[in-house]
Amino acid sequence: MERVATTPGLYPLPDDAKEALSDLKGHQRSDLVSGDEAPAVTDVYDDVREEVVAVQRDAGLDRVVEGQARWDDMLAHPLTVHDNVRTEGIVRYYDNNNFYRDPVVEGDLTFDGDVAADLDAAADLADDLQAVLPGPYSLFDLATDEHYGDDAEFLAAIAAFLAGEAEAFPEEVETLFLADPSLVTEPPEEGFDERVSEALDEVAAAVDAEVVAHTYWGAFDERVHAHVLDADVDAVGYDLVTAPEESADLVAEYGTADDVALGLVDGQNTLVESPETIDERVEWFEDRVPDASAPETAYLTSNTELFYLPVNRFEEKVQALAAATEDDT
C-alpha cells in the first residue's frame, strides 16, 4: 500500500487567534461566522490559514488542508453561512461536549461558494491541496429542514448543493475528504441507504480529484458499508482508534474501495502516537486484510477532526503522521 499522510481538517485555532477572534467577534451565538465577516476578522483568518498550511508543510504531510478556521459550527458550516438557512439555538455536536448552531433550511440550497473561496486562498500557499466537506448524509443529519418537506428530497438537495460547492474548487485540489461520521453514529435506515450512496456519487462526480468518504466514532454496519462501497468514491475511511477490530473485520470480509483512509491517530486525546505506533497500526491492518482486497493507497490520518486538541498536541500529531509515511520510503 502506498501511504499518503493527511488529516480530516477542522484544525484548532492558534491560541493568539482564539483571543483575537473572541475580541473581534464576541462570545454569543449571533457573533459567529455568517459568511460576510468584517475585514479585520478576515485578516485574522487569512493569517491563520497561512500558519496552519506552514505547520503541515513543515511537518511534511502529503496533503495540505486549508484548516477550516472559519467553521465555527464544525461540519454544519456550509449550511450555517448559507443565505437560505437561519441558525437556531446551539445543539450538541455528536456525543461531544461541543455545540453548533442548528441550521434550519428555509429556502433553496443555491450555490454559495464559501468553501471554494477559502480553498482559492489556500491554493496560493500550497499545491497538494485537500478539500474537506461534510458527507451529504452527515450534513443532512446535522441540519433541520423546513423547506423541502421530505427526507429524500432534502438529502438530494444537500447532495446537489455540496456538488455545486465542490465544482467550484480550484484545480489545486487533489483530494476531497468527505467527513461522514453520521454514517456510523446514526446509520441511515434500510431503503434510505441507497439514496445515501447516490448522494455520495453526485458529490464525487463534481470534482476532478480523489474522493474519500471518511467515517469515525465506530464502525459501519454491514448494510451501510455495502452501500458506501457501491458509491463512486475512490476511498472509504475507517476509524481504527475507536473500532479497529470491527473495521478490519468488515474489510477482510467484504473488501473495500480501491483505496482506504485509516484513522490511526486519536483526534480526541492529547496522548501523541509515535510514528512507530502509527506504522504498527498500518501493518496490523494490512495483516488482517487478504491480499486480494488490499487497497492500493492508504491515507494515514487522525480518526476525527483535530479541533478537539490543544495546539501543541495537534501539531505533534500532524508531525507524527507525516513521519509515519517517511519511515516507509
Binding site: L21, H27, L32, D72, N97, N98, L271, F307, L309, P310
Partner: protein, 362 residues
C-alpha cells in the same frame, strides 16, 4: 431511610411544612472581580499594567474573599435556607479541581463552541490527592454566613469525561480513581463541619448509558461518610428517562434535577415507577438560562409539580442549574421569588389548601 433535612430547618421557620430552599452553586461574578482577575494575570505577565492598576497575590486573594462575602450575603438576603459562595473562587468546574490534583497537566485551551474555550486538562499520570480542594472555601463561607452552607463538588465522572485521559485504561478506571480522591475531600469537608455536599455530574447527561459508572463512583465517595451528612447528585440537560429509575439505587439523599427549562415535560419520567419515599427531590423551579424572571405565582405552580412526585417532606426547591450565566440582578430576583413561592406553598400546605398527589411518607 435518610433524614438529613431537619438540620437545615431554621429555628424561626414560620410554617409546619418545610420546603428546603437552596441553589445549585454558581452565581454571576461581580464585574469588578473579573476585571481584578484580569489585572492580577496581567500583573504577573510580561507587560504588567501601570503601577496603580497592579493586583498582587494578596490583593487578588482579598478580592475573592470580598466577592464570596458579598454573594453569601446576597444568598442570605434572598432568604435561602442553605447558601453557597456562588463559586466565586472557581474559574471553571473542571479546571479548578484539575489544578489541585496531582497527575493532571494543562496544554492549552480547546473549543467548546464558537469562541468559548476551556482549558481541558490531560491526565498524564496516576491522580493523587496532595492538597485540599474546597476546605478553605467552605471554612470561609461558613464563617461569614449565618445560614448552613452547601458545598458543590464536580463529580469524578465529569472530571474524567471532560479531561483527556492519557494514563488510565478507560474513563471508568479514571473516574473510579478520582472518586477515591473526592471521598478524601468530602471527609475533610465533613471534618471541617460541612453537612450538605452536592456532587455535580453534568457529563452524565451526555453519556447516560454510563449511569452504572456514576453509581459506583458515588459508592466510593460516600464510603465512611457519616449518615447525618446530606449528599446530593446534580444532573442537568439530558434525557432523564435514560438514567431513571436506575439512579434511585445511588447512595445519595437527594437528586437535584433541571426540569423548568423543559417546561416539566420530563416530570412524568419520575412518576413511573414512583420516586418513592427514600430519596429527596431537589426540583429545578426556575430556568437558569432564561433571563426572564418567573413570577412567584409561576414558581408556585412549578413547586406543585414537584408535589406530584414527592411529598412535601421530600421536596427541595432549587433553580435548574448554576445561575452564573444570568445577569446578576436577574439571578437574585429568581432566588428571591423562589423563596417567596416556597414559603407561600408551605403556608398553603399548612392550611390544607394544597392537594398532595404524591404518596404520603410512611
Amino acid at each position: 431511610m435518610s433524614d438529613t433535612r431537619d438540620q437545615f430547618r431554621p429555628a424561626d421557620h414560620p410554617h409546619d411544612h418545610f420546603l428546603l430552599t437552596t441553589v445549585v452553586g454558581s452565581y454571576p461574578k461581580p464585574k469588578w472581580l473579573d476585571r481584578t482577575r484580569e489585572l492580577h494575570e496581567e500583573t504577573a505577565g510580561e507587560e504588567p499594567p501601570r503601577p496603580d492598576l497592579r493586583v498582587d497575590d494578596d490583593a487578588w486573594a482579598e478580592a475573592k474573599d470580598d466577592a464570596a462575602r458579598l454573594i453569601v450575603e446576597e444568598h442570605e438576603r434572598s432568604g435561602l435556607d442553605t447558601v453557597v459562595d456562588g463559586e466565586m473562587r472557581r474559574n471553571e468546574m473542571v479546571e479548578y479541581f484539575a489544578h489541585r490534583i496531582a497527575g493532571y497537566e494543562f496544554n492549552g485551551p480547546v473549543k467548546v463552541w464558537g469562541h468559548n474555550y476551556f482549558d481541558k486538562p490531560s491526565v498524564v499520570d496516576e491522580v493523587e490527592y496532595d492538597q485540599n480542594w474546597l476546605v478553605d472555601e467552605f471554612e470561609f463561607t461558613s464563617d461569614v454566613s449565618s445560614r448552613p452552607v452547601k458545598v458543590p463538588i464536580t463529580g469524578p465522572y465529569t472530571l474524567a469525561s471532560w479531561s483527556f485521559n492519557e494514563a488510565y485504561e478507560d474513563d471508568e478506571a479514571l473516574a473510579n480513581a478520582l472518586a477515591d480522591l473526592v471521598n478524601r475531600e468530602v471527609e475533610a469537608l465533613v471534618d471541617a463541619g460541612a453537612r450538605y455536599i452536592q456532587i455535580d455530574e453534568p457529563a452524565l447527561a451526555t453519556t447516560p448509558d454510563d449511569h452504572a459508572i456514576v453509581g459506583d463512583c458515588l459508592e466510593r465517595i460516600v464510603a465512611g461518610i457519616p449518615e447525618e451528612v446530606r449528599t446530593g447528585l446534580h444532573v442537568c440537560y439530558g434525557d432523564y428517562s435514560r438514567i431513571y429509575p436506575e439512579i434511585l439505587d445511588f447512595p445519595v439523599d437527594e437528586f437535584d434535577l433541571e426540569l423548568a427549562n423543559g417546561d416539566y415535560e420530563q416530570l412524568d419520567v419520575f412518576k413511573d415507577p414512583a420516586f418513592g419515599n427514600d430519596k429527596d427531590l431537589a426540583l429545578g423551579v426556575t430556568d437558569a438560562h432564561d433571563a426572564t424572571v418567573e413570577s412567584v405565582a409561576e414558581i408556585k405552580e412549578h413547586i406543585e409539580y414537584g408535589l406530584e412526585v414527592v411529598p412535601p417532606e421530600r421536596l427541595t426547591v432549587s433553580p435548574d442549574c448554576g445561575l452564573k450565566l444570568l445577569p446578576r440582578e436577574v439571578a437574585y430576583q429568581k432566588m428571591a421569588n423562589m423563596v417567596t413561592a416556597a414559603r407561600e406553598v408551605e403556608a398553603e400546605l399548612d392550611a390544607g389548601e394544597i392537594d398532595v398527589q404524591a404518596p404520603a411518607d410512611d
